[in-house]
C-alpha cells in the first residue's frame, strides 16, 4: 500500500512563511489564516504523491557527471517524475541539481517538488522559488508577483509545467558539459543572459560557445542533442511538455526498459487489491532478502516511530544550525502603532531561506528497536487467536497495562501495534473480528482513521460513490455550512487551513445531498471534524465513515423534525441518571436542571462539540465499540465527574458551569462509562426511535458487526419478552427505566424451559446480582411469584413521609442497596411510583419490569412458596 522505506533515510529542510502585515480581517470578518497554516493545509496532499521517481524528503547521493547514456536515463527518469507531478497539477519550479537526487541503485528521486505548490505559487513566502541559473526565460519575464493586499489576490497565472522542462534542459546541459552554467555572472546578469537567448538561433550551440565547450557538444550522441534542443526551446509554446518528451524518439531505446508505474490500490477501494500481486515461481526468493526489518515498513510508519523515539524536526534543524533563533528580548520592536504595525526591527537574518536538507538520523530509532524480534514484524494471524495479540516480548505485555497516553508514546509498543493493525487491516474485511478484538485493547494513532472505518464496517466503492455525489451545485444549506466551518475546531492547524475548510464544505455537502430525508443541523460540522482530520487526504473515506456513523449512533437525529427522537433520547438519559446516580438525579430534578438544557449538543454531536480532538479520539475509540446506548453512559460519566459541583450549586450556577464545560478527565470518563454500561440492563436504554437492526442490515452490513462489551441486545431480543412501545408522555412520567422480561430472566439466571437454550452457564458468584420486589398484595404474591423475589405491597410499603415501613422485607431491600432492584407489579403505574419512591430514598439501579407480572406468567417460571413452617 505504501512505499517501504528500503534504504532511504529521512531528511528535513525549512523555510519561513511570509508574515501577514498585521490585523487584517477577511471578508467574513474573521481574522485571516496565517500563511503557515495555509501551507500546512496544502502540504497534506503531497503525502499522497507517491511515485518511484519522487522522494518524500529523502536525502541520498547527488549526481553531477556521467556518460551520455547515463544522462539519457537520468533525463528520462526525471521526466517521468515531472509528468506524474503535472498530472497532479503540481509545478516543481525549484528544479536544480540539488533537487534531483539518486537513490542507492542510481535511480532518480526528485525532492522539494512541493514547495511551489504549498506556498501558493510563492505567494506565501518572501523568497523567490527556484535557482537563478535554472529559471526558464518566461519565469524571469513574468517577474516576482506578490499580491499587495492579502485579502484580494489579483495575479496572473503561476508558472506552467513547461518551465520545469527548461530547468531540466539546463541541468542535462550541465551534466553533458561537466560544468556549471553562468558561474561567473551575478544574479541579474545571469537572468539577463537567459532572457536574451530569445534572439539566438541555436541556444545549445551558443551556450556551448560561451562556456568554451563546443567540442563536447559535437561529441554528444544525436538523441541527447535533440533532447537538449527540445528542452531548451526559448518559446514555451514550442517547447514540449514532459509527457511529450517521454514519448519522444530520443528515448526510443531506453523507454522500453521502464515499466509504467501504477499506484497500488488502497484499502477501501473498489479495485481488486490483489490484482497486481504475483508470486515468483520460487517462493524462497521472497525470503532471501535478509535486510533489516524496519526497512520494509512504510516511510510514514518509520517517521511516526522516529518521532516517538524522541525525534523532533525543529531540534534537529536547530542542532544543525539551520534554524538560528535569537533570544526574544533581542528582537523586540521599538514601537507599535495603534493598528498593530510595528517598527524598529530590521529583517531578521535567521528568517532567510536556507534550503539545505538535513539528514535525520535513524540511529536512535534503530537502537530503540534493536531488541524487537523479527517475528514482531510479521505476526501470524491464524484462526487460533490465542497467540495473536502478544507475540512480542514480555516487555510489551507489561506496557499494555500502562495508561493509554503512555502506550501511545511508547516506540516498541506502537511498532507492535502498528504492524499488527497494518496486517489486520490488509486482511479487512476477512479479519474484521480480530480488528474488533484488538481495538478493545487500543488503537494505534497512526492507523486510527482506517481502523475506525473498519469498525464502522465501511465497504464498497466509496470513492466512486463520493465522486458521483454532487458537491458543487449550490444548495440552501450552503450559507449555514459557510458560517459553521470557520468556527469548528479551529484551534487545530489542519482544520483551520483553507484546504481544510474546502474539504469540510465538500464532505458536509456530499452528506446533505446524499441524505435527502435528513437535513443539516448545526453540530454536523463538529461530527464531521474527527473523520475529516483522520482522513484528510481521503475525503471519500471521511464521508463514508460519517455516513456509517450517523445511522448507528444518531439514527434520525438529523430529521427535519427531530423533536420526538431527541425528546425520547433525553428522557432515557434522565432515567439513566436516576438509575446510576439517584442523589444527583434528585438534585437536578429539584432545581429543574433537565438534560434538555445541556445535553442536546452532547448527543447531537456525540461529544465532538464539547471536547478537543485528542479527547474525542480516545472517547470514540471506545464509543465505536459500543452500541447506540453507550453514549448515555458517557453522558452519566461526565455528570459524575462534575458531581460535587453540581450538587453544591443551584440552577444558575449549573447553567454557567455547562455553558463552558470544565476540563474532563477523558480516560477516567471512558473507564467509568464502560463500568456504567456493564451495570445497565440491555433493555433499559430501549428506544423506539433507535435504528432497527433489520433495516440496518441490508444498508451497510452493520448488523453482523461483532458484539461490543455485552452482546448487542437487539440481536437476542425475542418479541414476546422484549420491551413494548409506550407513549413519550408515559415514558417521561417515569423516573426509572423499564427493563424487559427477558433481561430480568437473564439477570436472575432463571432457566427458561420454553426456550431450549440448553443449560445456562453458571457464573462463579452464586450471589444474586439483583433483587425483585413484588409490590402486589400478598395474596397475589402467594399465588405465584418470581423466584427469589420479596413482597412489599405497594399500599403499605411507605410511611406518610416517604420512608420505608420497617420490616423484614425492607431490611432485605436495604441489604440489596447498590444492586439492581426491579419493581414488579400488576400495572406499570404502581411499579413506577414505587421505583420513584426508592430513587427519592437514594436507591441506585432501580428499574421497572415492563409489562408487569403479566409478562412473566406465560414463561412458567413463577413459583408458589412452600407453606411456612
Amino acid at each position: 500500500m505504501m512505499a517501504p522505506l528500503r534504504d532511504a533515510g529521512l531528511g528535513a529542510f525549512t523555510f519561513f512563511a511570509s508574515a501577514l502585515p498585521h490585523d487584517v480581517c477577511g471578508s467574513n470578518g474573521l481574522p485571516l489564516t496565517p500563511n503557515s497554516i495555509k501551507i500546512l493545509g496544502r502540504f497534506q496532499i503531497l503525502k499522497t504523491i507517491v511515485h518511484p521517481r519522487l522522494c518524500q524528503y529523502v536525502d541520498i547521493t547527488r549526481g553531477k557527471h556521467g556518460s551520455p547514456v547515463k544522462i539519457l536515463h537520468l533525463a528520462f527518469e526525471a521526466l517521468q517524475g515531472l509528468e506524474y507531478l503535472n498530472r497532479h497539477r503540481i509545478v516543481h519550479r525549484a528544479l536544480s541539481p540539488h533537487s534531483i537526487l539518486l537513490d542507492g541503485e542510481g535511480h532518480v528521486k526528485m525532492a522539494k517538488f512541493g514547495l511551489y505548490y504549498i506556498t501558493d505559487h510563492g505567494a506565501d513566502v518572501d523568497f523567490p522559488i527556484g535557482y537563478p541559473s535554472y529559471l526558464a526565460p518566461e519565469v524571469i519575464a513574468q517577474g516576482i508577483v506578490k499580491p499587495k493586499d492579502p485579502t484580494q489576490c489579483e495575479r496572473p497565472l503561476p508558472s506552467g509545467p513547461k518551465s520545469d522542462v527548461w530547468s531540466l534542459g539546463v541541468i542535462v546541459f550541465e551534466l553533458c558539459m561537466g560544468r556549471k552554467l553562468f558561474q561567473s555572472l551575478d544574479i541579474s546578469e545571469k537572468l539577463k543572459v537567459i532572457l536574451e537567448l530569445g534572439c539566438v538561433d541555436d541556444i545549445v550551440t551558443v551556450l556551448a560557445e560561451e562556456h568554451g565547450c563546443v567540442e563536447v557538444i559535437k561529441s554528444l550522441p544525436g538523441n541527447v542533442l535533440t533532447l537538449l534542443r527540445k528542452c531548451l526551446t526559448y518559446h514555451p509554446s514550442k517547447r514540449p511538455t514532459a509527457s511529450d518528451l517521454l514519448s519522444d524518439s530520443a528515448f526510443a531505446e531506453i523507454s522500453p526498459t521502464y515499466m509504467p508505474y501504477c499506484k497500488p490500490a488502497s484499502l477501501f477501494s473498489s479495485a481488486l487489491r490483489c490484482a497486481d500481486l504475483f508470486l515468483p515461481e520460487d517462493i524462497s526468493l521472497l525470503c532471501k532478502d535478509e535486510g533489516e526489518f524496519l526497512a520494509e515498513r512504510s516511510i510514514e510508519e518509520v517517521y511516526h516511530l522516529w518521532c516517538l523515539a524522541g525525534g523532533d524536526l525543529e531540534k534537529e534543524l536547530i542542532s544543525k544550525g539551520i534554524i538560528k533563533s535569537k533570544p526574544p528580548i533581542c528582537t523586540l520592536p521599538n514601537l507599535l502603532l495603534e493598528d498593530g504595525e510595528s517598527f524598529g526591527r530590521g529583517r531578521d537574518r535567521s528568517s532567510l531561506l536556507d534550503d539545505t536538507t538535513v539528514t535525520l538520523s535513524l540511529c536512535q530509532l534503530r537502537n530503540r528497536l534493536k531488541d524487537v524480534p523479527g517475528e514482531a514484524y510479521y505476526p501470524l494471524l491464524g484462526e487460533d487467536q490465542s497467540n495473536v495479540p502478544h507475540s512480542g516480548s514480555n516487555n510489551e505485555l507489561s506496557t499494555s497495562n500502562l495508561p493509554l497516553i503512555i502506550r501511545e508514546r511508547d516506540t516498541e509498543y506502537q511498532l507492535n501495534r502498528i504492524v499488527l493493525f497494518d496486517r489486520l487491516l490488509k486482511a479487512y474485511p476477512y479479519k474484521k473480528n480480530l480488528i474488533w478484538k484488538e481495538a478493545r485493547v487500543d488503537i494505534p494513532p497512526l492507523l486510527r482513521g482506517l481502523t475506525w472505518a473498519a469498525l464502522l464496517g465501511v465497504e464498497g466503492a466509496i470513492q466512486e460513490k463520493y465522486d458521483s455525489t454532487d458537491k458543487d451545485t449550490p444548495i440552501p444549506t450552503d450559507r449555514q455550512i459557510e458560517v459553521d466551518i470557520p468556527r469548528c475546531h479551529q484551534y487545530d492547524e489542519l482544520l483551520s487551513s483553507p484546504e481544510g475548510h474546502a474539504k469540510f464544505r465538500r464532505v458536509l455537502k456530499a452528506w446533505v445531498v446524499s441524505h435527502p430525508n435528513l437535513v443539516y443541523w448545526q453540530g454536523l460540522d463538529s461530527l464531521c471534524a474527527p473523520f475529516l482530520y483522520l482522513n484528510f487526504n481521503n475525503e471519500a473515506l471521511a464521508y463514508a465513515c460519517m455516513s456509517a456513523f450517523i445511522p448507528k449512533y444518531l439514527y434520525n437525529f438529523f430529521l427535519k423534525d427531530n423533536s420526538h427522537v431527541i425528546q425520547e433520547y433525553l428522557t432515557v438519559f434522565s432515567q439513566m441518571i436516576a438509575f446510576h446516580d439517584p442523589e444527583l438525579s434528585n438534585h437536578l430534578n429539584e432545581i429543574g436542571f433537565i438534560p434538555d438544557l445541556y445535553a442536546i449538543p452532547w448527543f447531537l454531536t456525540m461529544f465532538t462539540h464539547v471536547f478537543p480532538l485528542h479527547k474525542i479520539f480516545h472517547l470514540w475509540d471506545t464509543l465505536l465499540l459500543g452500541n447506540a446506548s453507550f453514549p448515555f453512559c458517557i453522558g452519566v460519566a461526565i455528570l459524575q465527574q462534575l458531581r460535587v459541583r453540581l450538587l453544591a450549586n443551584g440552577f444558575n450556577e449549573c447553567i454557567l458551569l455547562f455553558s463552558d464545560l470544565p476540563e474532563i478527565d477523558i480516560e477516567r470518563c471512558v473507564r467509568e462509562s464502560i463500568n456504567l454500561f456493564c451495570w445497565t440492563p440491555k433493555s433499559a436504554t430501549y428506544r423506539q426511535h433507535a435504528q432497527s437492526l433489520k433495516q440496518g442490515s441490508d444498508s451497510n452490513g452493520m448488523s453482523r458487526s461483532p458484539a461490543s462489551f455485552p452482546t448487542e441486545y437487539q440481536d437476542s431480543t425475542k418479541i414476546d419478552l422484549g420491551r413494548e412501545l409506550i407513549k413519550l408522555s408515559e415514558l417521561k412520567s417515569e423516573v426509572s427505566p423499564r427493563i424487559s422480561a427477558e433481561d430480568l430472566i437473564d439477570l436472575c439466571e432463571l432457566t427458561v424451559p420454553s426456550h431450549a437454550k440448553g443449560p445456562t452457564k453458571k457464573t462463579k458468584s452464586s450471589k444474586p446480582k439483583l433483587l425483585v420486589v413484588d409490590i402486589r398484595n400478598s395474596e397475589d404474591f402467594n399465588r405465584g411469584h418470581i423466584p427469589g423475589s420479596i413482597n412489599m405491597p405497594f399500599g403499605s410499603a411507605f410511611t406518610a413521609d416517604g420512608e420505608l415501613v420497617p420490616g423484614p422485607a425492607s431490611a432485605t431491600l436495604q441489604s440489596f442497596k447498590g444492586k439492581v432492584i426491579v419493581s414488579v407489579g400488576h400495572v406499570s403505574t404502581n411499579a413506577a411510583e414505587f421505583a420513584a419512591h426508592l430513587v427519592k430514598l437514594g436507591y441506585p439501579r432501580v428499574c421497572i419490569l415492563d409489562g408487569g407480572m403479566n409478562k412473566m406468567k406465560p414463561t412458567g417460571l413463577l413459583t408458589v412458596p412452600s407453606p411456612q413452617i
Binding site: 519575464a141 533570544p327 528580548i329 520592536p333 507599535l336 498593530g340
Partner: protein, 552 residues
C-alpha cells in the same frame, strides 16, 4: 471555492463531447472556467449524474475531459508565458530593472545570496552571558553585579546627603531673606535669591548625574570585558586567574537602610491568585493575580531583603535571554522623555543599578524618538499614495489632523518598548500612551488604550513575554473622580477585554500558559480590593480546586 472571486482572468470554454447510442448521436457541451480549480473526478461524477449519461461512456468521458483540460491549461500557460516574454522583447518591461528585482529578492531572502552577516556585538554578548549565567560562574557574576550595585548606591547616597545639605543651607538663607523682606529687600531680591538657589540645585544635580552616568559607563565597560574574559578563561581553564570568587562587598548603606525601615514596601500589599482555563474545546491554563501594589515595585531592588536582592537578580538574570520574559505596562503621556510623573520615577529607579546589557534608558528613548519620526514619515507617504489613488475627502481630514499635531509625539494606544537587565523583576517595559480620556468613566472596548493592551499582549505572544503586569484600572494613581462605581466599571471592562485577548492569543501562539498580573494602585481601599477580587473569578472561569480524595 468562491467562483468569480479571488483569481481573475477566468476564461470560459466549452468542453464538447459527442457519443453515439445506437444510431443516435448526442453532443454534450459543458462550459468550463479556466484555470480549472475543481477536482476533475468530482466534475466528472457530477456530469454523469446531472446529465443522466449512460455508464458505458463513463471511462471515455473521463479520459477526454482530462485530456481537454490538460491541453487547454497548457495553452493558457503558454499564452501567458509568451505574453510576458513578448513584453520583455518589445521593451515594455525593462530588462535591467526586472533582473534587479529578482536579484534584490534573492539577496534579501536567501542565505545563499545574502550579504555575509556583520558580527553583532549584542548578540554575541547575549550568547556568552546566557552560557555563563547558566554555569557555576553565575555566583561570581552576580557578586560582581552586586558590588557594582553597591558602589552606585553609595554614590547615590552621597548625592542625597549633599543635596539635602544644600537644601538645608538654602532654606536657612531663604528664611533670613524672608525676614528682611519689605525692610531692606524687595520682592525682586527674593526672586533673584530663589532663582539663584534653583540654579545651584540644578548645577549640583547635573554634576551628580554626570558622575552617575560616567560611573555606569565605566562599570558597563568593565563588566562586559570581564564577562568576555571569564568566558574565554572557562574555555581554556589552564591560565585562570580571574575566575576566583569575588566576595560580596558589605553594603554599609544597605545595613543602615535595613535598621531604619524594617518593612519598607511590604506594608499594604494585597495579593490574590487564580488559575483559569480558557478555550471552548481545547483549554489552556493561565495564572492570574490581583495585586495592590506600585507598578515600580517590580523594578525596584528591595533593599530590606538581605538575601532577596540576589535571589531576584538570579531569577531575572537567568531568564533574560530565555523564552520566558517578564514585562510590565507603564502608562505614559504622549511625549517620549523622562521628565515628569511616572516616567521620571521609572528613570530614577533605572539609575539605581547599571544596565550591563542594554543601552541606558535615555539612549533607548532617543532611538524610539527616531523610530517614531520614521514611522510617521512612512505613514504619511502611504496616506499620500492612497489619497492619489482614491482621492477621498477622508484622507484630507486626516492630513489636517496630522498637520495639527507634533509629529514626534505619540497617539493614544501607541506604545514603545524598552529593554532592561537592571530591574528587579522585569525585562521588558511597554510604555503605553494614554490621554486624559482614561480618567473618564465611559471608555469602551474600542478605546485606543484597550487596543494598545491588545497589541501589547500580541507582542507578548510573539516575543515570549510570559509574565505581564497590567494596571487594572488603567491609571497608576487614584484621584477623586475615581469612585467605587467607576473602579468597578473600569475593572470589569479591562478584565473582560483581557479575557477576550487571551482567548485570541491561543490562536496566535497555540496556547502557551501565561501569568497575567493585574495591579491596582496602593491607595485603594482594602474593601475595594476584595470587591475586585470577587469580580475576577466571575469573569474568568476559575478552575475548581483539585479534589485529592477519591469520589467513593
Amino acid at each position: 471555492m468562491k467562483p468569480g472571486k479571488g483569481k481573475p482572468c477566468y476564461t470560459e470554454r466549452d468542453f464538447v463531447y459527442s457519443f453515439h447510442v445506437g444510431s443516435q448521436s448526442f453532443v454534450l457541451a459543458v462550459p468550463l472556467q479556466f484555470p480549472v480549480q475543481e477536482n476533475l473526478d468530482h466534475l466528472h461524477g457530477r456530469l454523469m449524474l446531472l446529465h443522466d449519461l449512460p455508464c458505458f461512456i463513463e471511462q471515455d468521458l473521463k479520459k477526454s475531459l482530462n485530456q481537454f483540460v490538460k491541453e487547454e491549461t497548457i495553452k493558457d500557460f503558454d499564452r501567458e508565458a509568451e505574453q510576458a516574454l513578448e513584453a520583455v522583447n518589445l521593451g515594455q518591461v525593462d530588462v535591467g530593472s526586472l533582473a534587479n528585482t529578482w536579484m534584490t529578492a534573492y539577496t534579501e531572502t536567501t542565505l545563499e545570496h545574502a550579504r555575509p552577516e556583520e558580527p553583532n556585538w549584542d548578540e554575541d554578548f547575549a550568547d556568552i552571558y546566557h552560557d555563563l549565567i547558566h554555569s557555576p560562574a553565575s555566583e561570581t557574576l552576580l557578586n560582581l553585579e552586586h558590588n557594582y550595585f553597591v558602589s552606585i548606591s553609595e554614590l547615590l547616597g552621597e548625592r542625597d546627603v549633599e543635596l539635602k545639605k544644600l537644601r538645608e543651607r538654602q532654606g536657612l538663607e531663604m528664611d533670613k531673606v524672608m525676614q528682611e523682606l519689605g525692610k531692606s529687600l524687595s520682592d525682586h531680591d527674593v526672586n533673584s535669591v530663589a532663582a539663584q538657589h534653583f540654579e545651584f540645585q540644578q548645577m549640583l544635580e547635573n554634576k551628580w548625574s554626570t558622575e552617575l552616568k560616567q560611573l555606569s559607563t565605566i562599570q558597563k565597560q568593565e563588566y562586559q570585558e570581564w564577562v568576555i574574559k571569564l568566558h574565554q578563561d572557562l574555555k581554556n581553564p589552564n591560565n585562570s586567574i580571574i575566575s576566583d570568587e569575588i566576595k560580596v562587598q558589605p553594603n554599609r548603606f544597605q545595613e543602615s537602610a535595613d535598621s531604619s525601615q524594617p518593612l519598607y514596601e511590604e506594608h499594604g500589599q494585597l495579593e490574590e491568585s487564580f488559575t483559569i482555563h480558557l478555550g471552548a474545546q481545547l483549554k489552556t491554563m493561565h495564572n492570574l493575580r490581583l495585586l495592590r501594589a506600585d507598578m515600580l515595585d517590580f523594578c525596584r531592588h528591595k533593599r530590606n531583603h538581605r538575601s532577596g536582592v540576589k535571589l531576584h537578580r538570579l531569577q531575572t538574570a537567568l531568564s533574560l535571554y530565555s523564552t520566558s520574559l517578564c514585562g510590565l505596562v507603564l502608562l505614559v503621556d504622549n511625549r517620549i522623555n523622562s521628565y515628569s510623573g511616572i516616567k521620571r520615577d521609572f528613570a530614577t529607579v533605572g539609575q539605581e543599578c547599571t544596565d550591563f546589557h542594554f543601552p541606558q534608558l535615555q539612549v533607548q528613548l532617543d532611538v524610539v524618538q527616531q523610530v517614531v519620526l520614521y514611522a510617521r514619515a512612512q505613514r504619511n507617504q502611504k496616506a499620500k499614495h492612497q489619497q492619489e489613488t482614491t482621492n477621498g475627502s477622508e484622507g484630507r481630514s486626516d492630513k489636517v489632523k496630522n498637520a495639527e499635531r507634533n509629529q514626534s509625539n505619540l497617539l493614544p494606544g501607541e506604545f514603545y518598548v524598552t529593554r532592561h537587565s537592571n530591574l528587579s523583576e522585569t525585562h521588558v517595559v511597554f510604555h503605553l500612551c494614554v490621554d486624559d480620556n482614561v480618567r473618564s468613566g465611559n471608555i469602551t472596548a474600542r478605546d485606543p488604550a484597550i487596543m494598545g493592551l491588545r497589541n501589547i499582549l500580541k507582542v507578548c505572544c510573539t516575543h515570549d513575554v510570559t509574565t505581564i503586569n497590567i494596571p487594572l484600572l488603567l491609571v497608576h494613581e487614584m484621584s477623586e473622580e475615581m469612585t467605587i462605581p467607576w473602579c468597578l466599571k473600569r475593572a470589569e471592562l479591562v478584565f473582560k477585554c483581557v479575557k477576550g485577548f487571551m482567548m485570541e492569543m491561543v490562536s496566535w501562539d497555540g496556547g502557551v500558559s501565561r501569568t497575567v498580573q493585574f495591579l491596582v494602585p496602593q491607595n485603594i481601599s482594602e474593601e475595594m480590593f476584595y470587591q475586585l477580587s470577587n469580580m475576577l473569578p466571575q469573569i474568568f472561569r476559575v478552575s475548581s480546586t483539585l479534589t485529592l480524595t477519591s469520589k467513593r
